[in-house]
């Protein structure tokens, strides 16, 4: 098992190198460069000065030299300087990564807390009114665009009812670590988490429901019934164990998706996370930040896949590695 994780982790290195190469080339291929965003729009900076800055920053060097410089620093945790924020990219990300991780972690928890029981109910009691209601909710969740739903939630609960703050991640005047601080953070998190979670459940519910319907006519379930296993135990001991397997395997991907996919939520709630930063940085041509962010979410995908592989090999004896 440990050997498998180690081998699987080593495999990540070439993946990450390839990823970094592609990201770097793509960012170079985009129109404009770092200087364009920072100085070109400034009428006080002349064309010669811009060229001088380009030369000084090494932007005229061949791409592989630039890549070498970038990756050499990147592995040491230095992704350069943000042109817009005028601070190291690493510290810029560090401040926001915590926000995004909190947001996506809680969203994932709420999604699973909702989706697993609902999926089980719908799958076990197919074609009952409970199932029909859950399926209806599911179609609603699937059909609702996230950005509209999030806006509606914001409008209703923050603007009209005023129960929650309009945006941000917390009040900076409150001492971190105090009880008040936790309550304040929770209040800021609540709406973004709920907006993402309430309509983020459909995949898991649908998958679980269908899988339970599939499993419950399988032969091994007949065997279980023929042993005299009570119906409840037929589900907990046999069907659910098999049906939750793929859900557990998707866990890694799901969390990754949430980390890189919270752009809408973060923008709408002006929640200072990676997604919001990503959107800002693209429009401001803050290349160092964009490359670093793409790199981070790419790495998250690779790590998520690894996580899924490890989880699956733990829960499924058929692919367990000795």
């Amino acid at each position: 098992m440990l050997k498998f994780i180690l081998r699987r982790s080593l495999l990540m290195i070439p993946q990450l190198i390839l990823l970094s190469l592609i990201i770097f080339m793509l960012s170079k291929a985009m129109p404009g460069d770092a200087v364009t965003g920072a100085f070109m729009s400034n009428p006080n900076v002349s064309q010669e000065q811009v060229e001088k800055i380009r030369e000084k920053l090494g932007l005229n060097d061949p791409w592989y030299e630039q890549y070498g410089r970038w990756i050499g620093k990147a592995v040491q945790g230095d992704f350069g300087q943000s042109y817009v924020h005028k601070q190291p990219v690493t510290s810029l990300l560090a401040g926001r990564i915590e926000n995004t991780v909190l947001l996506s972690l809680f969203t994932a928890i709420v999604i699973y807390l909702l989706a697993i029981p609902l999926g089980i109910v719908a799958g076990r009691w197919t074609d009952t009114w409970a199932d029909k209601m859950i399926v209806t909710y599911n179609y609603f969740a699937f059909a609702t665009p996230l950005f509209i739903f999030a806006l509606l939630m914001l409008f209703l609960f923050s603007f009209i009812l005023g129960w929650f703050p309009i945006g941000g991640s917390g009040n900076i005047r409150i001492d971190p670590g105090s009880w008040e601080y936790i309550v304040d953070r929770a209040k800021h998190l609540f709406l973004p988490v709920m907006s993402g979670a309430l309509i983020g459940t459909y995949g898991t519910i649908q998958y679980l429901r269908n899988d339970i319907i599939d499993q419950k006519i399988k032969d091994y379930v007949k065997t279980a019934r023929s042993k005299g296993v009570p119906e409840g135990k037929v589900y907990t001991r046999h069907i659910l164990r098999n049906s939750l397997l793929p859900i557990a395997a998707f866990l890694g991907y799901e969390i990754t998706g949430l980390i890189s996919g919270s752009i809408f939520i973060e923008s709408i709630y002006s929640y200072p996370g990676l997604g919001q930063l990503f959107l800002q940085s693209i429009s401001q041509r803050d290349f160092t930040v964009v490359t670093a962010l793409v790199m981070v979410s790419g790495a998250a995908v690779i790590i998520g896949t690894l996580l899924s592989d490890i989880i699956l090999s733990i829960v499924d004896p058929r692919i367990r590695i000795e």
């Binding site: 091994y220 065997t223 279980a224 005299g228 296993v229 009570p230 058929r318």
Partner: protein
Amino acid sequence: MKNPVLEIKDLRTSFNIKGDYYAAVDGVSITVHENEVVAIVGESGCGKSALALSVMGLHDRKSTKLDGQVNFNGQNLLTLTRSRLDKVRGKDIGMIFQDPMTALNPLAIIGRQIEEPMDYHMKLSASEKKKRTLELLRRVGIKNEQRVYEQYPHELSGGMRQRVVIAIALACDPVLLLADEPTTALDVTIQAQIMDLMKELQNQMKTGIILITHDLGVVAEMADRVVVMYAGEVVEIADVKDLFENPLHPYTRSLLNSIPSNMEGKEKLHVIDGIVPSIQNLDRKGCRFAPRIAWIPEEDHEEIPEMHEAAPNHFVRCSCYKTFYFPEDRVGEREYVATNS
């Protein structure tokens, strides 16, 4: 006469297909005695598996209608609530399934799967259960039982898995075993081994067995009594010796006639015309086998075919058995055969 263990009386199992109920098992009555092996034979689709699943209550309750009686231990299994039924199955009745590749839970170790019925039907400590399970594994012919106990189904071969399935059925010393084509999914050499094992176990344990099969070789080897089913009905019941020596019903005779024998090498193999009708298209009036023996005149069949005791303990349905013949056996009626084939 020995005591009856199971009495099936006029059992009718109907499935809901698009709003209408169609009987797959249509008025079947069978009695199984202590220590008796009753084989149920018939083509695919004749209702033999549906019969076994009805006895065990394994059909989906919403889309299945069960009429008649299945009397076991003084209670009618068909009217029991789910929780009462769970006290019977796995304890007094064990079931052996057809396909060992799918009959075991892929995520649980073999030992736990065999112990599971003991969890509900026996008051044993964990170590006693394990001891009993290892003993069962040995009894079904698994030599390295300690190792198999810890293994998962995918680590075992088909034959081994079927042994495990048998061990599960035997876990709580049942008085009745239902074996639904226990060897169909296995290859021939393994089939023989599993049949030997079942015979040996039957000799030791003295359980009543309902053996569902379409393999007449298996029937000859194991059964005491044979029930021949066709299109949801019992068409003939006889002791195994009688049935093979003196088959009466045209269907039984056709089945036996269809077995390739290596004595006469060049003869053309007998084939029964047509197929078993699906339960939706089945004509439920008159003799159900009549369409497949069209050369027998209509007046030879009964309007409402009954079971007749043609010889002591030898029952046959419909009167057509009296005049039935195989067209290829009769010279001079060639033209008739030609128009019908």
